[in-house]
């Protein structure tokens, strides 16, 4: 069954005709050649496909593209502005927060979404006071990014990159 939708991807309007079975991840990668979101597990468990959908971090492998008509999608490659890396991307570079790089676009999008959640005052499971302000310490960073796996094990430097970003 075919459907016609329009997405705004990394600032560009992209009309699409696709099978209703197509996930947002496959629409981005296979229909639009936007390949920064990666297909890891394809079951919502690894976070490699994380993008920002209308500003919120989501796993694009479990979302049907047909449900996203009119939505704004930002991928890791769309975070850079005029060739300048996003501050989170810069922090990943400076702290050597990756090895093979496969999970990195998802890590970066997840981190950008997570920082917005912190800015909005949203608690996490490890926040002591549910109604108080949030201090983004290492425990908070680890908990909030638990939806992104890194099989190279670059976690220590990912936490370092975000600690720096949280302090700035």
């Amino acid at each position: 069954m075919d459907a016609r939708i329009t997405l705004r991807v990394d600032g560009r309007v992209r009309p699409l005709a696709l099978d209703t079975r197509t996930t947002l991840l496959d629409a981005l990668r296979d229909h639009l050649s936007v390949t920064s979101p990666k297909k890891g597990c394809d079951h919502g468990q690894c976070g490699a496909c994380t993008v920002l959908l209308d500003g919120r971090r989501v796993v694009s492998c479990l979302i049907l593209a047909v449900t996203c008509d009119g939505a704004e999608v930002t991928t890791a490659q769309g975070l850079a502005q005029e060739g300048e890396p996003h501050p989170v991307q810069r922090a990943f570079l400076e702290k050597d927060a990756f090895q093979c790089g496969f999970c990195t676009p998802g890590q970066v999008c997840s981190a950008v979404g997570m920082l917005e959640e912190v800015k909005a005052g949203h608690p996490s499971e490890v926040t002591d006071d549910l109604t108080g302000p949030v201090t983004l310490d290492d425990e908070e960073i680890r908990e909030r990014l638990s939806g992104n796996l890194c099989r190279c094990g670059a976690y220590v430097n990912i936490v370092a990159a975000l600690r720096e970003e949280a302090e700035s």
Binding site: M1, A3, D19, T20, R21, T23, D42, H43, G44, G47, T50, R56, R57, V58, V59, L62, I63, L64, V66, T67, S110, G113, M114, E117, A120, G121, H122, P123, S124, E125, L130, T131, R142, E143, R144, L145, S146, G147, N148
Partner: protein, 328 residues
């Protein structure tokens, strides 16, 4: 994945009519469970009726309580100021489930209706009475670490995976349903069923029934409530066992209590025996232990999960002890 038609419903009545009129149709909320099941071959709807954008995405204050729209995202519900203030057990339960990305998509009703993570249910190459009635239960004699110790049957030993629902059952939540025959409400605890000889049915809902809201009653002492989750890794993992509790103290006595258990049964398990044991008694560790043991007297663990009986008892004691200390 088999081909399917897609319909974005304009209002709840249209959604109900569209699903009720077609045996192979299904509602689509956030899709974090259903889309996965379609990929795995566990589910194969021929029509998806998208209810995620219906105007059911608000949390409204009622007489002392809250009415939570079915399409409210798990992350938004956990972050809602009134949930954090009045029902910390619910905020904590939500935050302990899944990952940040999934909570941003998963809906309230979808969370309630998510299906078991029994590995045999999710693997279409193995027999499973829940997926294919009458085909047998592969968990019996198989891997049962995450399976039930209470209320199971020879046909199914699966557990309900939700954290949020455990908190809501403890809070006496009520579910508002719109069906082909009209609107009705029922206690959340009565939405779920035990497997018996029909484990393919998780709930009492009929085809075409749409959950439109969850109502939380006024419960002032829920301000002192907690959710404790025991699992194999510290985050992004389903519960081995979990405890949702609210405690109302009168000096050293338990004036009132709400207690529910997760990861132990086919449904979120309201610990009514333990509650009865606790009410009016001393708020001491011994009393908490006796109450937990009273609830667990009916436990029938499997070879792979006998540890969960002691784990549940200890989790109940630890949760109530922490709440009692918080009150002193």
């Amino acid at each position: 994945m088999i081909p399917f038609e897609y319909l974005r419903a304009g209002d709840p009545a249209e959604a109900v009519a569209a699903v009720a009129g077609r045996p192979g149709a299904a509602f689509l909320g956030g899709g974090t469970n259903l889309v996965d099941h379609m990929k795995l071959g566990v589910a194969g709807p021929d029509l998806l009726v998208d209810v995620s954008r219906l105007p059911l995405d608000r949390v409204e204050e009622t007489a002392g309580g809250l009415r939570i729209g079915a399409a409210v995202r798990n992350s938004d519900l956990a972050a809602h100021p009134l949930v954090r203030e009045r029902y910390p057990v619910l905020a904590r339960a939500l935050l302990s489930g899944a990952s940040g990305q999934l909570r941003n998509v998963a809906t309230t009703a979808g969370n309630l209706l998510q299906r078991t993570r029994c590995p045999y249910f999710q693997d279409v190459t193995t027999p499973c009475n829940k997926r294919v009635p009458g085909s047998g239960c592969s968990a019996a004699g198989g891997y049962t670490r995450y399976h039930a110790i209470l209320g199971a049957s020879e046909h199914c030993v699966a557990t309900h995976p939700s954290d949020m629902a455990v908190a809501m059952v403890a809070l006496d939540a009520v579910v508002a349903v719109l069906g082909p025959g009209g609107a009705r409400t029922l206690p959340l605890a009565e939405l779920y069923r035990l497997p018996g000889d029909a484990p393919q049915r998780d709930t009492v809902l009929e085809h075409g029934d749409l959950i439109i809201a969850v109502e939380l009653p006024h419960l002032p002492f829920a301000r002192r409530s907690a959710y404790r989750k025991v699992r194999d890794r510290a985050s992004f993992s389903f519960a081995l066992v979990s405890v949702a509790a609210a405690l109302d103290l009168d000096g050293g006595l338990v004036r009132d209590v709400r207690l529910a258990l997760g990861g132990v049964a086919h449904k979120p398990w309201r610990a009514t025996r333990a509650e009865a044991e606790l009410r009016g008694g001393p708020a001491t560790e011994d009393a908490f232990r006796r109450a937990a043991e009273a609830e667990l007297a009916a436990a029938r663990p499997l070879p792979g999960n006998a540890f969960k009986v002691a784990m549940t008892r200890n989790a109940v004691v630890a949760t109530l002890r922490a709440l009692a200390e918080e009150g002193r």
